[in-house]
């Protein structure tokens, strides 16, 4: 067991966890932040993407202890106050989700993408290439791409 301490969605949390506990398990099981999903066992699907120190991370590929001391933001922490993050709003406005299971990971990836590449540099091809690590089975990606285009504009 190890002690971990991190900031999650702006709040400091401390827990004793098993060394082998994944960050995603820590978020879901210890903190009840069930918006972060597990869709595969091999770090392919991206349903578990969160931000660790401002960067998108598949929380199934990182141990909770590795995130100790870090600042973690999950889908639950993306909106500020009562306002949706512009990317969240864009997904709603552009019907960028259907069953909603991949959505938290998609949105967290999309926010990171805009931060990394810059809103002005996001053409469709770039968006599609950067969604390589996020699988959606419902939308066919068409409206996810529209959502990210719109979200990027709103974030600019």
């Amino acid at each position: 067991m190890s002690k971990v301490s991190m900031t999650v969605n702006g709040k400091t949390v401390e827990r004793e966890v098993e060394d082998r506990m994944l960050l995603v398990e820590f978020l879901r099981e210890e903190l009840n932040l069930t918006g972060t999903h597990v869709g595969c066992d091999t770090s392919q699907c991206g349903a578990c993407v969160v931000h660790v120190d401002g960067k998108a991370v598949k929380s199934c590929t990182q141990l909770a202890v590795q995130a100790s001391g870090c600042e973690v933001v999950t889908i639950e922490g993306l909106a500020t106050g009562g306002d949706l993050h512009p990317m969240q709003a864009a997904f709603k406005e552009n019907h960028g989700l259907q069953c909603g299971f991949c959505t938290p990971g998609m949105i967290m990836t999309a926010v990171d993408l805009v931060n990394r590449v810059g809103a002005g540099n996001l053409d469709e091809k770039t968006i599609r290439e950067n969604l390589e690590g996020n699988i959606c089975r419902c939308t066919g990606y068409h409206n996810i791409v529209r959502s990210i285009e719109a979200g990027a504009k709103a974030m600019a």
């Binding site: 999903h37 869709g39 392919q44 299971f101 969604l131 959606c136 089975r137 066919g140």
Partner: protein, 780 residues
């Protein structure tokens, strides 16, 4: 159309919880004292269980039970059923082998459950599952359907000699053979429809709790049809009587058919919860999902189609072998028969069709309905052979199709279906125009100059949705009716609750169903709550699959709304001393037509509940229920055009454009319909280009993770060009046809027709991987 009525692009009410991480999926639920189940699964394709040594596992930390199939059957839990009886052409009933939720004596596919461990944590359950020692005696196995029918093939079930479940036919064989014999041109093909894994992003899960005090069970589960689950769990598996079992399907992360069925794990969690006295949760991991979620497709067919000298089809003969896997899943028998062969007439006027289907057991995962279910297999066959025939006869593929289109309705096909409405020329014209089909020659030349091979392919699909009426499907062997229920509860303050037997797992019912109320009464959709997925709240329903929630589920609501409207008008007429026939309800107000007399909707509703001043003899309250059983299937149809560019150096296909022109009848929310089409087409592109379930010769599943099963990613597909053309469906009050499956049904042949056009070689099987395409280009 109001801003929130029928036809409006209303943004989804349900989105807020999903985009903020507040969706509630089965695995998100926790119960006090909850324990975790881990299944011990067969690593062998076929084996006899000689013995199970549980001692080490039972001694491990946190373990409260290690249970096997003999204990399950010993407790009276019944075998899994197949809910659709098919009779062979000799009149004999299908040969169904026994399927126990946990194997008792034999395991018949890799992944078959042989034992289950329940422990206090998931880690402890999994560790103990590893310590269960099962002594297997390996038996000979057979993986491919064609091999399973050969003399001397290993036998899976004593009930099915030669592994044959049924040998079924539809249509007139002699007449079809005669017609083909007299044809001016005959095209013959062998067509394989590749095996797929549905892959909803949320893996299946179950959380079961037995409450001893009330002798009552609760099951949270990833189901598309919780009421059917309760019925089957109760009536056939004897897990609990129906009134002692509550099934809740909360937010469900996609289904695509794979969450219709009641799987062994749900049964085991319920049973184990009572037997061990703890709530039991099981959540599939992705590899378990690949192993045990019902797969789709897997047909091998030989087809012959004959044309007269004018290019008119005279006869169509199909011989299909369908792989059903190791056990018959819930609706598996209907997929390669009534959901498949009845659509072999396509959009065409064909006088003679005959189809023979042999369905066989193999040592692979059960195969059942996956998005489209039988109709993609039929469409692929029809549209591949039409395109091929056109090329062989030197005709424009669009023209050959046009020449054979059904143009008068109703149209009775020789394979049961009676098409009620459509305009196939309209969707073909729209698609060809949007794709600039006329100028493909120029684009091919331009691509050739760059060293690329460009091709274009068509698919004119038809499908049948809203499977019904119940009496008809009952006569064809269905074990259930396929109606739907709806209840409209108007609250005293005028807000409305819709209770529906349909189940939304991505389809947006919370929005589209509310739009019906807006259309009817002018209430904002925010004043309407849609309730579904809980057997304690909704009385009964058949769930969501087969693109039925609009045509059937919404129709039930329309009928319930009719009753609510009639009663509200009576009350309003009484209150305003007007004639009932003069009352109109619009914009949230109840008015006397031609006057300025009116009441607020909420005033009428309150009056219904105070009961102070109601018409003589009227019961108080404003709540109505309806059960709707359609009079016919619905027949969505359309044309898809796909244009590809193949790199001859690598064999890689790029989808340049994909055009869809669909006729879904009346559309409630175009935004949501477009989303359904986008997703369906992408799954179809997945089937045609990427996806393939592969078992090796030993029955080991080689595509058991996203490392090896190629799911379509964002950069595998383009943005789509969609349009719709409306012919009103006469079979239901809404005039709707259904849109959930069309994309997956219509797209694979368009894509393969495009690639074969590009490379000039028709001998291509799905998925068209770069290796396969490259080999064809290079004559390897």
């Amino acid at each position: 159309m109001g801003v929130e009525g029928i036809g409006a692009r209303v943004l989804r009410k349900e989105d807020k919880r999903f985009i903020t991480g507040k969706g509630r999926y089965t695995d998100d639920f926790k119960m006090a004292g909850m324990h975790y189940a881990a299944f011990v699964r067969s690593p062998h394709a076929h084996a006899k269980i000689r013995g199970i040594d549980k001692s080490a596992a039972e001694a491990m930390p946190g373990v409260v039970g290690v249970l096997d199939g003999k204990q399950l059957t010993g407790d009276g839990i019944g075998n899994l059923i197949c809910g659709w009886m098919i009779h062979s052409k000799d009149g004999s009933p299908m040969n169904m082998g026994a399927w126990s939720a946990i194997a008792t004596e034999h395991v018949r596919y890799v992944g078959d459950a042989a034992a289950v461990v329940v422990a206090d944590t998931l880690e402890n359950a999994r560790a103990a599952a590893e310590a269960v020692v099962i002594d297997y005696e390996e038996l000979p196995h057979v993986i491919r359907a064609v091999d399973a029918l050969k003399d001397g093939a290993p036998q899976l079930h004593p009930e099915a000699k030669g592994n044959l479940i049924y040998d079924w036919e539809i249509g007139e064989k002699d007449a079809t053979e005669q017609a083909i014999a007299g044809a001016a041109h005959v095209t013959e093909m062998e067509i394989v429809n590749n095996r797929l894994s549905p892959n909803p992003m949320e893996p299946r899960a179950a959380l079961a709790n037995y409450d001893e005090a009330d002798d009552h069970f609760t099951l949270y589960t990833t189901s598309q049809n919780p009421h059917v689950a309760r019925l089957v769990l109760s009536a056939f598996y004897q897990v609990a009587p129906e009134h002692k079992l509550r099934v809740i399907a909360p937010d469900v992360g996609g289904g695509f058919g794979s969450k219709i069925y009641i799987y062994p794990e749900e049964i085991v969690c319920l049973w184990a919860s009572k037997r061990l006295g703890v709530p039991v949760k099981w959540t599939s991991d992705r590899t378990e999902a690949f192993l045990t979620d019902a797969h789709g497709r897997d047909h091998v067919s030989k087809a012959r189609i004959g044309f007269d000298k004018d290019g008119k089809i005279v006869g169509f003969s199909i011989d299909t072998i369908a792989n059903i896997g190791a056990y018959m899943s819930l609706f598996s028998s209907s997929v390669p028969t009534y959901l498949y062969a009845t659509l072999l007439s396509g959009q065409y006027n064909i006088a003679n069709i005959h189809c023979n289907v042999r369905t066989v057991y193999t040592n692979t995962a059960p195969v059942d309905a996956y998005r489209g279910a039988g109709r993609p297999e039929a469409t692929y066959l029809v549209e591949r052979i039409m395109e091929t025939a056109a090329r062989e006869m030197g005709m424009d593929p669009a023209e050959l199709r046009r020449r054979n289109f059904v143009s008068e309705f109703p149209h009775q096909t020789p394979v049961i279906m009676c098409y009620d409405a459509g305009d196939y020329n309209a969707t073909l014209d729209a698609a060809l125009k949007a794709a600039d089909y006329a100028n493909i020659g120029k684009r091919k030349e331009e691509a050739k100059a760059r060293g690329k091979l460009r091709g274009i392919g068509l698919s004119c699909y038809i499908e049948a949705c809203g499977i019904a009426p119940s009496a008809a499907v009952g006569s064809l062997g269905a074990g259930v009716g396929l109606w739907e229920s709806g209840e409209i509860r108007v609250n005293p303050v005028g807000t409305v609750e819709i209770l529906t037997g349909s189940h939304s797992h991505g389809q947006g019912h919370e929005t589209t169903f509310a739009q019906l109320v807006n259309e009817r009464f002018g209430l904002p959709v925010d004043n309407v709550q849609v309730i579904h997925g809980d057997t304690d709240k909704v009385q009964f329903g058949m769930g969501t699959y087969g693109s039925r929630s609009g045509a059937v589920g919404m129709s039930a609501l329309v009928k319930a709304l009719d009753k609510v409207e009639a009663k509200a008008k009576k009350i309003a007429a009484h209150l305003m001393e007007a004639d009932e026939g003069d009352i109109v309800i619009e914009d949230g107000e109840v008015k006397v037509a031609g006057t300025d007399r009116k009441l607020g909707w909420h005033e009428v509703c309150l009056a219904a509940y105070t009961g102070h001043n109601l018409p003589q003899g009227m019961e108080p309250g404003l709540k109505e229920t309806a059960f709707y059983d359609p009079t016919n299937f619905t027949f969505p149809a359309g044309t898809y055009v796909c244009e590809v560019e193949v790199d001859p150096e690598t064999g890689k296909t790029e989808v340049i454009q994909f055009v869809a022109a669909d006729d879904f009848g009346v559309i409630v929310n175009p935004m949501i319909v477009e989303g359904q089409v986008h997703g369906g087409i992408t799954q179809g592109i997945g089937q045609a280009l990427l996806e393939n379930v592969i078992y090796d010769d030993n029955g080991q599943l080689l595509t058991a993770s996203y490392m090896d099963y190629a799911m379509p990613r964002a950069d595998d597909v383009p943005s789509y060009k969609l349009s719709t053309h409306e012919t009103v469906c006469p079979g239901n009050p809404m005039g709707m046809k259904g849109c959930g499956e069309a994309g997956a049904i219509g797209s694979p042949p368009a894509l393969i027709n495009a690639i074969t056009d590009a490379i000039g070689n028709n001998n291509l099987t799905m998925p068209a991987t770069p290796a396969r395409v490259w080999a064809l280009i290079n004559g390897k």
